[in-house]
Chain length 365, copies 2
């Protein structure tokens, strides 16, 4: 039952965590591998803020997915053994209902009429998809970056519906540095006159604000160490331009520009704002009054927490906090600290470091 | 000869390091204390990007200066012993000639007709002021942040005119992380429609872009560690606002907003762009072809390099690079690593940590 870009409508009123509701939201998802007869081999992947449900290629969609080297036959998340599900986050713009979707109550695009989005909602929507697929209890939830917080929300709210959890470069809650960065990214988009209070035209979106926000994103997704070795003080074109001191001159500036150009055409600005804010709002401690009680609400058999030494957005002490919190409630908790140089994004680009750890996890299950 | 906001015109053609020239630029400076008869007690202070020459209060201007607790009678840079000079950087907007000044050749504001500014030019202009004051050889040059690089340029270009050097939270050259941050700050200002290619009106400057740039500045001037303890996940007003997910909600967002509002009214946008770019362009290695040869061009009797463990903009390895480079050419080099929590800005706010070290330096001279 492999399928690309399948959609499911969660029939009825979908109550949002902080108030408001959606009428019968649509969720886009993809699956790889087959659900076994015991229905105990399902693995749910929660992505970071920007990816779609297309985590890997499949027979229906041969284009590379965002975690192509991790999911597939013979790969660490082995589709010969596991039934792998990835859901486009509620609030995103790749098939799932979000601020860029039509509000059935008005026939107009939601825009800022979309209710406040939280990662609890993202988790709950994914839970709806998992139920729809006939899976009562997941073998493992895997969450990367923001997806790790969505995964936490899933484990806390549905403790009997998941046995194992892998948290990758994520956190139990946002800290002020990350909140400041995301708040500024949102302000960049909202300050673009073309944002028009969320009522931008599809033909003329606030790409300047999006470009700025993406560049700040890249600054926090990678690491100073990587860039020192990769770019140093290298110039593009070799020579310093004369006369205009503000053109792109250094290679690192050109790198940021290229990444930003790629992103701005792809992601809906309002969806970005909602998902970014949802990341700020998440706090495991809201589930029971403290982090400790949040962890206590999970009933996991096994946990793997992975983090990267050079991550400035979800820094290592937050990985330790997660691992420590889980260890108190699940003795079978492992913490793996990777000394990758490429910062927060390492899980997307430094596959040689991540693959063996995730491979070991699933092989030992 | 204490004097606030004195100005001097450097008569004649002032050749700029990367080409072009200024006709008789004006430099604003302040001094504290008295030049002794041997003229060997002068200390020159180079500020960071944004401050004026008003480093401390004086009889002529009783308002607090940006380094009020460091400079004065009985303070670490003791004006009972030293003749202290601080020059508003060439290219700035607090009395010295810069992009916001009138171009005498046209009678119009320079704006982007100002030639490419470098920290070598900032150093050279300060040298002109020091010469004008009758000082042939400085007792000490002190440079903070960008001012440390200006100070380096001074020491390299005028090795016989300075005996000692204190570098505070600075670097031998910009690295790609800092270049990326500054480049993005400049892009924020340039992307503001009110920037108008540098031709903004004085009544309606690009304050939105300035506000964004200042907030990114603050994110890199302080430290995640400080904010974790200071703000955590504290909300303003206590309650989460309902309905608008994009208003300021967390205390850290309010803090950034307040800092940004204070700054935007004060600093000329084009001047900011020029000084920011000058920071990117500086590379000690351009003086002789390598960092090593750059250090070799200095002839210092004594060097003190200070850095802060939590500084993400001028990180500690850059302080070590400076200290190591100086140590090879000046045996009397000290390196002091301070474990202040307030990041790059510590030299402005964590005076209890900085005062004793600087006090020791001057007392032992």
């Amino acid at each position: 039952m492999s399928g690309a870009r399948i959609k499911v409508v969660l029939d009825g009123r979908f109550a949002m965590h902080r108030g408001g509701h959606l009428d019968s939201p649509t969720l886009a998802y993809e699956t790889w591998g087959e659900l076994n007869s015991a229905k105990d081999n399902a693995v749910l992947i929660f992505s970071g803020l920007s990816p779609s449900a297309h985590a890997a290629s499949s027979a229906d969609d041969s284009s590379s997915g965002w975690w192509e080297e991790m999911i597939g036959s013979g790969l660490p998340i082995d589709t010969d053994k596991f039934y792998v599900i990835c859901v486009n986050s509620l609030g995103s713009c790749f098939g799932s209902t979000g601020p860029a979707s039509i509000n059935p109550a008005t026939g107009e695009v939601y825009r800022l009429d979309f209710p406040v989005l939280t990662l609890e909602d993202v988790a709950e929507a994914a839970y709806g998809v998992v139920e729809h697929l006939g899976v009562e209890c997941l073998h493992t939830v895997v969450g990367c970056s923001m997806g790790g917080m969505s995964g936490l929300a899933y484990c806390v709210r549905h403790p009997n519906a998941v046995k194992r959890f892998i948290s990758i470069s994520s956190a139990a809650r946002g800290e002020p540095f990350a909140i400041a960065v995301r708040s500024l990214q949102r302000e960049m988009i909202r300050s673009d006159p073309k944002w028009l209070g969320g009522h931008y035209s599809a033909d003329d979106p606030p790409i300047v604000g999006q470009r700025l926000a993406r560049k700040l994103g890249m600054i926090t997704y990678r690491s100073p160490e990587e860039w020192r070795g990769r770019f140093g003080r290298e110039r593009i074109g070799g020579e310093t331009p004369v006369g205009d001191p503000f053109t792109i001159e250094f290679s690192v500036e050109s790198y940021l520009e290229n990444h930003a150009l790629k992103f701005t055409g792809q992601f809906d600005p309002n969806c970005y704002l909602y998902l970014s804010r949802a990341s700020d709002l998440f706090d495991l401690a809201e589930h029971g009054g403290s982090l400790e009680s949040g962890f206590k609400r999970t009933k996991l058999e096994r946990v793997l927490v992975m983090g990267v030494t050079t991550d400035i957005l979800f820094p290592l002490h937050q990985q330790r906090e997660l691992a420590g919190g889980f260890h108190n409630v699940c003795a079978n908790t492992d913490f793996v600290e990777l000394s990758c140089i490429r910062g927060h994004d390492s899980f997307l680009v430094d596959m040689d470091a991540f693959r063996p750890v995730i491979c070991d996890f699933f092989e030992s299950c």
